[in-house]
Amino acid sequence: MYSWILFAGAIFFALAGAVISAILDKNPGACRKITYLFAIIASCFGIASAIAVLAGDEMGITLFATPSLGTLTFGTYALSMNGLGAFFMLVISLLVLVVSIYSIDYVQEYQGKYSTGLMGALYNLFFMTMALVITSSNCILFIIAWEGMSIVSFFLVVYERNKKESLMAGIVYVIMTHIGTACIIIAFLMMASISGSFDFSSFTQPAFKAALSPGMKDAIFILLLVGFGMKAGVVPLHVWLPMAHPQAPANVSALMSGVMIKTPIFMLIQVTFNFLGIGSGDVWWGIVIIIIGCISAILGVLYANVEQDMKRLLAYHSVENIGIIFIGLGAAVLFQALGLGEIAALALIGTLFHVLSHALFKGLLFLGAGSIQYATHTKNIEELGGLAKLMPKTSVYYFFGVMSIIALPPFNGFVSEWLIFQSLMLSVILTAIPAIQAFMAISIAILALSGGLAIACFVHTYGITFLALPRSEHARQAKEVPRLMHGSMAVLAISCLVTGLLSMFLISIFNVIVAPITGSSSIISGLNWIFMVPVVQNFAGFSPLLLCIVMLIILPLVYGISKFVGGKQKIEIADTWDCGTPINERNEYTATAFSNPINKVFTRVFRNKPRIEIIPSESPYIFKEKKYEANEKKLVIEKDFYEPLVRGIVKISQKMKKMQSGSISMYLIYIFIVLVLLLIFLR
C-alpha cells in the first residue's frame, strides 16, 4: 500500500540531491554535507520500501502507458518490486546508506582538486539508476535505467580526469558494457517479438513460454548470459572490472563492487527462473553457469594474489566472488532443471546470501582501501605497512572484512559459502547421474582451491599493509581517518559478524523470497534461529551462533589458564631478531616476494617467464651485468584471448580501410549496391 510512496520518496530525494549538489558546486563544504545527507535520506526510503515489500506489500507503479504500434506494443512503463527485487533493493540501499555517511568525510580528499558537486550529483544519480534497474518492469524502461547506470558509473570512473589511467579504464569500461547492452537489447527484442509486448509481465505468462521454441530459448539465454555476465564481470568478460573499479573514488568503487555488479545477478535470476522458465532440457544452462563461475573464482583470486595495487586486488576479488555467486546460481538452475526444487532453493538461498555478504564485506574493504588512500595517499601495498598501530580502528574494521571474505566461521562470508558447499554436496544424495555428481565434485574442489588462495591473498594484503614496519614516508605519516569514515566502516564490520551469527533468521527470509521463484522452499529444519539443517536431515548442520559462543567461552579460558600455569613471568619488549642488525623497511618481506611462491606454482596462468638478459662485455667468460625481470605480467586471458582478438579487429579494420577511398562516386556506388541487394533479398 505505502511501498510505492516510500520508493517514490527514494527516487525523489536522490534526484533532488543530484540537483542540489550540482547547484552547490561552488561551495564544497556545504555541498558535501547536503549532497550525502540527501543520499542518506534516499537510501533510508529505499530500505523502508524494500522492507514494506518484504512484509507482503508488493509494489507496482504505472508511470504511463504507451500507444501500441501494429501487433507490437511498447507496453506500459511501470515500476514494480517483488520479493527478489526487494532483497536487492535492500542490499543496495543499505550499502548506499553506509557509504554515504562515509563519503561526507571522504570527499574532502577531492576538495579543491576536482568538482565535488559533480561527484555528489553523479553519486545520487548512481543510486537512483540502480534502484530503477531493480524495479523497471518494461524492456525499454529497463534499458534506459541500465544505460543510465552504465553512463553514470562511467563518469564516476573517469572522475579523476587528469589521470591517464582513469580515461583508459573509462573507455574500456564503456565499450565493454555497451557490447553487453547490445546483447541484452537483441535478447529483449527476440523475447518481445514472441510475446508481442515489451512488458516484463508478458514474459511471465504461460503463453509466452509455450510460444518459445527450444532453440530460441537457448539463443536468448546465451545472449543474456553474455550481456549480464559482462556487467557482472565474469571471466573472460572481466577485463574492464579491475581497470575501472580502482580508478573510481573509493566510495564509488565500494558501490560498484558491492552492489552494481549484483544487478546483473538479479536480472539473471529473473530471466532464467521467471521469464524463460527452466525445463528439463536446460541442464546445460546450469553447467555453463557453474563452469563460468569456477573459472572466474579461480582466475579472479589468482590474479588478485600477484596484485600490488590495493584497489585492483579487491576488484579481482570481486571477480572471484561473482564466480562463487555464479556457482551457486548455476547449481540452482541445474537442480531446478533436474526437478529438484528443494536444493535449487537451497542453492539460490546460498547465492542470495553471498550477494548480501559480498556487498557488506566488499563495501567494507573498499572503504578501508579508501581510508588508507586518504591517510597515506598511496594504494600500492609495497609502500605501506605498520598501519595497525597508526590507524588502529581502521585496521580492526578492515580485519573484520578480511575474516569475512576469506570465509572464517562464524562470519557471513563463511555462512554463504557453507550454504553453496552444502547444495553442491547434496547433489550426491539426490541425483543419480554420475556425470553430474563428478561435475559437482570438481566444482567443490575448485571452490575449495579458491578459498585457500583467498586466504593466501589476504594474509599478504593485510600483513603487508597493516603489520610490521611502514615501508615508506607515506605510510609513516598516516593518521587515523575522521570519525564518520571509521564509524561507517564499524557499522559494516559489525554487520558482517551479525549477519553471520543471525544467519538463520536471514535464511528464513530468503526462504520466503525464493519459494515463488523455484516453486519450493528448502526445508531448513532443526531448532530455528540456532541450527541450520538444510533439506535432508542428518546430512549437514551448522550453528554459527553456538560456534561463536563456544569459542568465546574457550578463549578466556585459554587466556586465564596460560596466565595461571607457570605463574607471572616477565614480558620484555625488544627488537625483532634480524641476525644482529637493526630491522628496517629495507629488510622486510615485500608483497611481491610474499606472492612469489604462488606466482611460480601457477606460472601457466600468469605467463610470467622471468626474463634474463645478459649484457655482453669484452670477455666472453665474465659477465659484468645481467638484467633480470621477474614479473612481466601477462595474464592468461589477456594474452591468449584479448590480444589475438584486438589484433584481429585491427587487421580487419585495416583491410576495410581500402574501401574508404574518400571519393563520393565510390560511396554512391556502395549505396546503390546495398540498395539493389536489399531490394532483391528483402522485398
Binding site: 595497525a388 598501530k389 585496521s395 576469506i406 572464517l408 566461521p409 557453507w418 552444502q422 554436496m425 550426491v428 554420475p434 563428478a438 565434485a441 570438481i442 574442489a445 575448485i446 571452490l447 575449495a448 578459498g451 585457500g452 588462495l453 586466504i455 593466501a456 594474509v459 600483513g463 597493516f466 603489520l467 610490521a468 614496519l469 531448532l527 541450527f531 542428518n538 549437514a540 548442520g541 551448522f542 553456538l546 560456534l547 563456544v550 578463549l555 596460560s562 600455569v565 607457570g566 605463574g567 613471568q569 614480558i571 620484555e572 619488549i573 625488544a574 627488537d575 625483532t576 631478531w577 634480524d578 630491522i583 622486510e588 618481506y589 616476494a593 610474499f594 611462491p597 604462488i598 606454482v601
Partner: protein, 315 residues
C-alpha cells in the same frame, strides 16, 4: 534433541581433553621412533610435556614492532584447535556435531593457519615473511585435496557430520572393502604431512632459513606464547591423525555408551595412532625434504588420488 546435545557436549569435552592430553605424547612417540630409526636412544616420550612446562615457566620477549595480532594469535590458535578437537570423534562416534560439519572443521583449521601466518608477518622479520609465504602456498594447493578426501567419505556415508561418517563406515562393514576409502586415506595422509609441516614438505626440526616453513613463522615467539603455539600445532597434528584413523578406519570405535566399548575405543585409537606415528617416523627417516617448488607435484598426486576416490565412491 536436548538429551542428544547434552551427550554430545559431555563426550565432546571428554574427547577434547583426551586429545589435548595425548598431543605432546604423540610428538614424543614420533621423535622416539625417529631416534630409534637413526640408531639413537632419543629423549623420553614424555619429553614434550617437559618442554611445554619449561616454556610456560619462562619470560617472553615481544618485538616492539608487533601489533595486537601477534599478541592474540597464540590464544586464538589454541581456541580454534580446542574447538576442532571437540568436533572430532576419538574413541566414540559422538562429537560436537551441533557446532557444524566437516566444512566448519576445515575452516577452523584455516582460521588457525590464517592467524599464525599473519602473526609471522607482524614482527617485520624476513624469516616470518618467508615462512608465512610458503605456508599459505602449500596450504592453498592442498585445500582441494582436503575437500576431496573428505567428500569421498561423505559420498560413501551420505552425511557430512564427522561422527556420522565414523558411525557410517563402522556400521557398514562392507564399506571397508570399498577401494575409495583406501585411496582417500593415502591422499589424506599426504595432506596430513603437508598441513603439519612434516617431511617431505617441511623439516620440523630445521632452523635453516632456506628450508624452514613452520619454524620460521613462530621464530619470534617465546615463553608462554611459544608454548601455546607449539601446543596448538601439536594438537593440530593429533587432530589430523584422529581424522585419519576415525574417518577412514574407525575400527573399534565405540558405538554405544558402555565402559567396555569405550575401553576398546580408547585402546584401538591409541594403537592406530601409534602405528601412524611409526609410519610418519619411517618417512622422516628414509626420505629428504623436497624442494619447495617440487611440492605442487606431490599435491597433484594427492589431488588425483583424492579425486579418484570420489569418482570410485559414486559407484
Amino acid at each position: 534433541m536436548l538429551m542428544d546435545t547434552l551427550i554430545e557436549l559431555i563426550f565432546g569435552a571428554i574427547q577434547a581433553a583426551t586429545m589435548l592430553i595425548i598431543a605432546p605424547l604423540i610428538i614424543g612417540i614420533i621423535r622416539k621412533f625417529n631416534a630409534l630409526f637413526q640408531s639413537r636412544r632419543g629423549a623420553s616420550i614424555i619429553q614434550p610435556y617437559y618442554e611445554l612446562a619449561k616454556l610456560f615457566h619462562k619470560g617472553q620477549v615481544i618485538s616492539k614492532e608487533a601489533s595486537w595480532i601477534f599478541k592474540v594469535t597464540p590464544f586464538i590458535s589454541m581456541t580454534c584447535m580446542i574447538v576442532a578437537t571437540a568436533m572430532i570423534p576419538v574413541f566414540i562416534d559422538v562429537s560436537l556435531d551441533f557446532l557444524g560439519n566437516i566444512i566448519v572443521l576445515v575452516y577452523l583449521m584455516a582460521m588457525f593457519r590464517f592467524f599464525m601466518t599473519l602473526a609471522a608477518l607482524d614482527t617485520g622479520s624476513s624469516f616470518g615473511g618467508m615462512g608465512s609465504s610458503r605456508e599459505v602456498m602449500i596450504s592453498a594447493i592442498m585445500e582441494p585435496t582436503v575437500f576431496m578426501c573428505l567428500y569421498a567419505m561423505v559420498v560413501i556415508t551420505s552425511t557430512t557430520y564427522l561422527s556420522g561418517i565414523s558411525a557410517g563406515v563402522q556400521s557398514q562393514l562392507t564399506n571397508l572393502s570399498h577401494p575409495s576409502i583406501y585411496i582417500a586415506f593415502i591422499s589424506f595422509f599426504i595432506v596430513t604431512l603437508a598441513e603439519n609441516a612434516r617431511y617431505p614438505f617441511d623439516n620440523p626440526t630445521t632452523h635453516l632459513e632456506l628450508t624452514m616453513v613452520h619454524e620460521a613463522m613462530i621464530l619470534e615467539y617465546s615463553g608462554k606464547s611459544l608454548g601455546l603455539m607449539e601446543y596448538s600445532s601439536w594438537t593440530k597434528l593429533t587432530c589430523f591423525l584422529a581424522l585419519l584413523v576415525n574417518i577412514f578406519f574407525p575400527w573399534g570405535i565405540a558405538t554405544s555408551i558402555s565402559w567396555s566399548a569405550i575401553a576398546i575405543g580408547i585402546a584401538s585409537f591409541l594403537g592406530k595412532i601409534i602405528a601412524l606415528a611409526l609410519v610418519i617416523a619411517l618417512i622422516e627417516s628414509s626420505m629428504s625434504k623436497f624442494r619447495l617448488f617440487k611440492l605442487p607435484v606431490v599435491s597433484w598426486i594427492a589431488f588425483s588420488l583424492a579425486f579418484m576416490a570420489v569418482i570410485l565412491s559414486f559407484l
